[in-house]
Amino acid sequence: MGARRWATGVAIVLALVWGGAGYLVTRPTTFHDYRVTAVDAARSAYNALATARIAGTARLDRRVTEPYLESVLADSREALAGAAKRFAGESPPDARTAAMRDELGPMLVRASAALDGLENAGDDAALRAALGPVAEAADEVDGFLEAHA
Amino acid sequence: MPLLVAFDLLDRQIVDSEGIPVGKVDDVELAVDDAGRPRVEALLTGQQALGARFGGTLGRWITSVAARLDTDHRGPRRIPYRLVSEVDSAVRLRVRRELLAEPPLEAWLNEHLIGRIPGAGDD
């Protein structure tokens, strides 16, 4: 008898958890959800860009090595790509969030291009030139964070 | 000072005369003396004895895995109590562990895995 009662209890809990999880997964995105996703993506992008900028500048001063810079830039690229993917996976539920998407989406594209430039820079002159767009992209995303976080 | 079977013996480490681990006291074998009182006959060690103490599904599983390696069906390893020289923070034996039966798992691993890797016998 005890065992049966236990089994029933466990089954009910499992059903509730399952149902709750199902609801959370399928319920429509709200303004709040979208804002959280967007701010998270922007923060990841900012971290990646700012780190790349510090490391790139340090490379110009010969404070870090080439393999080190490559590794850090690879990390930054991965973080940025992950953020962009999460952001693109959520669709805006209303006009306010649509505006948010139109603001941040292009920023992430520019950020990606700026990191590309840094990764492809062959010499110091190119590196110095590539740092400009990275700094701009970082400031731009920072501005987005100021406005929405 | 009296000896407590569960506290002083069970789950205590058995070491040989050189201080090298031989096994845990996984159970204690008792024999009834002339006056009808049980006395400590031997220490049982190894996963067969441990599994039997656990009981339940887990215990049966531990025992059956251990028994599969025990191809001669000798049962748990048995260390006669007369080999014990002292019981303190460990149960100390008078003899070196080479004089006791080799644990089946150790023997199997030495034959099939560890003993085959170069350097296994080096200091």
């Binding site: 700012a50 780190t51 090595t65 | 996984d26 656990f54 150790e106 016998g121």
Partner: protein, 411 residues
């Protein structure tokens, strides 16, 4: 003490490295510095004192009675409860081992530019070979002392010309800075504390004492190991926290990679400093990998009473060496799923809730048992601190669970 005795403190240093500057801690402490400035400094201090209290007891028991910690766990708690502890400790240790193998490979990637997954098989094999062939004292000295090069980050604090009054103020703050929330601050505090007092440290330290054949005469050596090793470990961790607080906190950049964590060394001392820091990370993570790999073997062997230890030929401790080998293989298998190993160690916090009390209670009880320690039982100070930390550990462990849910692992 003669020079040989001086080298004998490397066991304490190596043990402390596994608790304070293993790969998970390097990233977590740097992240804390970047997000909260020096506002978690007190956690490091509380952690250092806590692990000192219990490692001292474990070392004393090991020296006087030659019984390592997991031996006592089974003896005092019985086979069933000890098995729960064994399962939890093994999972924590294995996850950390996987993370460390990944961490060594990451350090090699920073040095060479070759992707870390390519380094991993070589790292795992070298680790196994070291644990199979090399003498315990040699391993301990090479990697314990090698890890000390991380001191470059501590020195770097002064080279980065920081705003000292601001740092001092942060260090004396016991709250999250503006813009951060309490749950995340508390979660990270608990994570840092739990990893400072992580159970494999006492398993490794006490077993290491037995490996080194400590006797009653070595009580002083055991104590010096504890009181030099763990504060040094805490200091190295502080180096990561402080340099990240100086470099990343002012510009609001979060730290979540090893590359970021060592960047301040480059900014302070250039390529040489960066190289030293990466070398230190390499030695520390490799040392922590040895610590966790051996601990996995120690705990399982001591639970079952098997012969164990590097002082025996592998043939005479075949079961112990098999557990070490299998653990390394399991760790590599876990890494090959491309799971984030550092993230994995954070999830292990859940198991600490069970494992920490089940490890520290038996140590505390046996340290009061004259049957084991004779006149070397705990004094009033060790007992008072021991009980206080037991309460802290349990409280932290209980608080960890809701915080994990609230913050999504410190997010």
């Amino acid at each position: 003490m003669n020079p040989k005795r001086l080298l004998a403190v490397t066991l304490g240093i190596l043990t402390a490295i596994g608790g304070f500057v293993d790969i998970g801690d390097i990233v977590a402490t740097s992240e804390s510095g970047a997000r909260f400035g020096l506002a978690h400094t007190w956690v490091l201090l509380v952690g250092v004192v806590g692990i000192c209290v219990y490692a001292e007891m474990a070392g004393r028991v090991a020296a006087v009675s030659t019984r390592p910690v997991f031996d006592l766990v089974r003896e005092r708690l019985g086979p069933r409860v000890a098995l729960v502890n064994l399962a939890g400790s093994y999972l924590i240790t294995l996850a950390t081992l996987a993370a460390e193998i990944g961490g060594v490979a990451l350090a090699l990637q920073l040095l060479s530019g070759t992707h870390y997954l390519l380094w991993m098989p070589a790292v795992a094999f070298t680790l196994w070979l070291a644990l199979w062939r090399v003498r315990f004292e040699t391993l301990e000295r090479v990697f314990g002392l090698g890890g000390l090069t991380l001191v470059v980050l501590v020195v770097g604090v002064f080279w980065l010309s920081p705003d000292m009054p601001a740092l001092r103020e942060q260090a004396l703050t016991f709250a999250p800075p503006a813009g951060e929330n309490w749950p995340t601050y508390s979660f990270m505090a608990i994570a840092l504390f739990a990893s400072a007092v992580t159970p494999y440290e006492v398993f490794f330290f006490s077993s290491g004492g037995v490996e080194e054949r400590w006797t009653r005469k070595d009580l002083l050596v055991a104590r010096v190991n504890v009181f030099v090793g763990f504060p040094l470990g805490g200091l190295l961790a502080f180096g990561f926290m402080a340099t990240s607080a100086i470099v990343f906190h002012p510009v609001d950049v979060e730290v979540d990679t090893l590359g970021q964590a060592v960047l301040p060394a480059g900014l302070a001392f250039g390529q040489v400093g960066l190289g030293l820091a990466i070398l230190g990370v390499f030695a520390a993570t490799f040392g922590a990998a040895m610590e966790t790999g051996l601990s996995a073997g120690y705990t399982v062997a001591q639970y079952f009473g098997w012969s164990w230890g590097k002082y025996l030929r592998p043939r005479r401790a075949a079961r112990f060496h098999t557990v070490v080998l299998v653990s390394i293989l399991l760790a590599v298998a876990a890494l090959l799923t491309t799971i984030d190993p550092v993230q994995l160690t954070e999830y292990m916090l859940v198991f600490s809730a069970v494992v920490l009390p089940l490890t520290y209670v038996p140590i505390l009880i046996v340290a009061n048992d004259r049957g084991y320690l004779g006149d070397k039982v705990n004094g009033r100070l060790a007992n008072t601190l021991g009980v206080i930390y037991l309460v802290v550990v349990v409280a932290a462990a209980v608080a960890a669970l809701p915080l994990i849910v609230m913050t999504g692992m410190g997010g």
